[in-house]
């Protein structure tokens, strides 16, 4: 692959990581409240898939969707402002972290009920197929979502009517705190797609190039009229309490956390403190997805150390700007909320 797209992918992964780390800090400081689901560790999936998408494609995402929005091109300040609940946010401060929307970029939302992305994506796919357009829908979901009825119902309909949907499982091996072998009788998620005759592949979700290539291939199949495709991206989130995972990408920091939690007092403390590994801890954890792409770029002479430092500097400034913008933005009013509720009234007088 040429240097330019590679650099763009690295840029987006670095932005994703920096944005989410900063969001965690802002959460700790009380500037962000509510539920906040962060993406560190999983960047290769969102970046790899979305860099394969066309601007005319639609994206349907989950409640862990900040990075999907960023990579899709929603400005960092607009995403951060939404996390802050401000009027300038991409959902006007009415959606929050789990409900980022951007109609213009065909970012069709973050959905906070597990399993909702399937019917939404299928419905958009239905409209595309009916109109015979060369567009596709990318439907993100986690491993925990595949045990919802909507997964099976929607895959069935998507296959039955050959809808242009790319189902992307971000398999981070945990549905909140339950490891996949404890929540799924068939832990190889991609195999489930076979029940609906949907071509499916399992790929290394820590390798952005592998994810990207698989997505390009799958989208080609979709645009050729071959119906839905399915990718299972094995990945890992660096955040949250969890049992040790056998994956080779397992960060040492998690193992350390596991060992530390043998002490019930420490467990109690850990349960009450908002714990998040800092940049140093993550760096110490070894080869994660970002480090792998950096190494690849370095080996192929795609990117010099100076260029990398330049990208990182630019991202630091961008995230800082996003936080300042969010903090300075006004809150939405009740009148704004009412206007959003009535946005489709079209001047109709109800009574």
């Amino acid at each position: 692959m040429e240097s330019d797209p590679l650099r763009k992918m690295l840029h987006d992964m670095l932005l994703a990581r920096a944005f989410e780390e900063r969001a965690a800090q802002e959460y700790a400081q009380g500037n962000i409240a509510g539920f906040l689901h962060l993406y560190p560790g999983e960047e290769a999936v969102g970046v790899g898939v979305l860099h394969a998408a066309e601007p005319a494609d639609y994206i349907v995402s989950t409640y862990r969707e900040h990075v999907h929005a960023l990579v899709r091109g929603v400005p960092a300040r607009v995403v951060m402002a939404e996390l802050f609940g401000r009027k300038t946010g991409c959902s006007g401060g009415l959606g929050g972290s789990m409900h980022l929307f951007d109609a213009g970029r065909r970012f069709m939302g973050g959905y906070a009920i597990v399993g909702e992305t399937f019917p939404i994506a299928t419905g958009i796919g239905y409209a595309i197929a009916m109109r015979e357009l060369p567009e596709a829908v990318i439907c993100f979901f986690g491993d925990g979502a595949v045990n919802q009825g909507t997964f099976h119902e929607s895959l069935n309909m998507a296959a039955l009517w050959k809808l242009p949907v790319l189902f992307v499982c971000e398999n981070n091996h945990y549905q909140i705190g339950t490891e996949i072998h404890r929540h799924s009788a068939v832990a190889e998620v991609y195999k489930r797609a076979a029940a609906y005759r949907i071509p499916a592949r399992r790929i290394d979700g820590m390798d952005v190039l592998a994810v990207h290539q698989a997505s390009v291939d799958a989208l080609q199949q979709i645009r050729a009229g071959n119906g839905p495709q399915f990718l299972e991206c094995e990945t890992y989130r660096f955040r949250g309490h969890s049992m040790a995972d056998p994956g080779s990408y397992r960060p040492k920091v998690e193992l350390q956390a596991f060992e530390e939690r043998e002490d019930p007092l420490k467990i109690a403390i850990a349960e009450t403190v908002v714990a998040y590994p800092d940049a140093e801890q993550i760096a110490a954890s070894g080869a994660n997805n970002i480090e792998r792409l950096k190494a690849h770029l370095n080996e192929g002479n795609h990117l010099s150390a100076e260029q990398l430092a330049g990208i990182e500097q630019e991202i630091t400034e961008q995230v800082e700007d996003a936080v300042c913008f969010a903090g300075d933005s006004p809150e939405p009013t009740l009148a704004d909320a009412q206007a959003a509720l009535d946005c489709n009234r079209q001047g109709e007088v109800l009574l």
Partner: protein, 326 residues
């Protein structure tokens, strides 16, 4: 242009009329296509508009309703038929969490021209799982609008209006109304979708009702007239929003309120109707508002018990007499 038609035929004509002028209108549901609809509502449309616009779905209420939501976000105008409201329990996430909330929580970025049609209510010995009334559940959802047509003319008007609206609208039909007859004139101008209608003028009390209970209330009013009690009968036509003004105007004349609903009494639709009108008319009322509602039991299969579990004409008459003598 005035025809006497079945309620299902009025709905069928509304679908045909809207589908013929707007190719973004699609119909989805179980057996709506080749079969023509469980209550014949989509009869003949599959042959006319093809499978992409008349889509027979698998039995997956949660997902095909959600599919309608997704399609509506990108400009289709899906009319989702849920065979009976009882199955809508499986689709409530799509209706309540998606359709009602997406336009709002996106900050007003998406249209939601979705219509969900379904019959509710007690029919004939379908037993507890097929006899539910869920209007109270849907009434408590900001972002939804609920129309409850009681006549073929309203069924036609309100379905046409619902399809043209960019907001999510529930059309709550009734299994026993599909084969009721009434006049239909498609050339008449429709009143606003949520406007209540006074079906009978009276002076002594106001009966506020909706859906199938309109017919029972009108028949009760006839018998009450023979007893010297003059009942005004208001058909709400809509449960969200509710046309309070029409009801208040009536109560300012009669000073007595009787709510007749097929819903169970406790926290049913009638509770909101009675509360809303009490707030507005407390000082004009001569007596405490009364409700005639269904009993607090799941619907029994046995025909005698089933009939006793929901309002009958005699119940309405007794309640009206009681209200007017107090």
């Amino acid at each position: 242009m005035n025809d006497t038609v079945y309620y299902w035929q009025a709905l069928n004509r509304a679908l045909d009329a809207e589908m013929s002028v707007d190719e973004s209108v699609i119909v989805m549901g179980e057996d709506v296509g080749l079969y023509g609809g469980s209550y014949r509502v989509t009869e003949g449309l599959y042959a006319k508009y093809g499978e992409w616009r008349l889509r027979d779905t698998p039995i997956s209420e949660g997902s095909f309703t959600g599919l309608g939501v997704g399609a509506a976000m990108v400009g289709l105008r899906p009319v989702v038929e849920i065979m009976t409201i009882n199955f809508a329990l499986l689709a409530l996430d799509a209706i309540i969490n998606m359709a009602a909330k997406i336009p709002f929580m996106s900050g007003g970025q998406f249209p939601m021209p979705l219509v969900v049609r379904m019959p509710g209510g007690v029919a004939k010995q379908l037993a507890a799982q097929h006899s539910q009334r869920l209007e109270q559940t849907l009434m408590n959802v900001p972002g939804l609008r609920i129309a409850v047509p009681a006549t073929p003319q309203d069924a036609y008007w309100q379905l046409c209006q619902a399809i043209r609206s960019d907001e999510p609208i529930i059309l709550l039909e009734h299994e026993l109304l599909y084969f009721s007859k009434g006049s239909l004139d498609v050339t008449l101008e429709a009143p606003p979708m949520h406007r209540a209608q006074v079906h009978r003028q009276g002076d002594d009390l106001t009966i506020v009702t909706y859906s199938r209970m309109l017919d029972l209330s009108l028949r009760a009013a006839e018998q009450l007239a023979e007893k010297g009690i003059s009942a005004e009968v208001v058909d709400l036509r809509s449960l969200r929003p509710i046309d309070w003004d029409t009801c208040v105007a009536s109560l300012e004349k009669t000073h007595r309120l009787l709510v007749v609903e097929e819903d169970s009494r406790f926290a049913g639709a009638g509770a909101e109707i009675a509360a809303g009108l009490t707030e507005r008319c407390f000082y004009t009322l001569d007596a405490a508002p009364q409700r005639v509602a269904a009993l607090e039991i799941p619907t029994p299969f046995n025909a005698t018990l089933e009939a006793a579990s929901i309002p009958r004409i005699a119940d309405i008459i007794a309640a009206a007499e009681n209200l007017c003598t107090n």
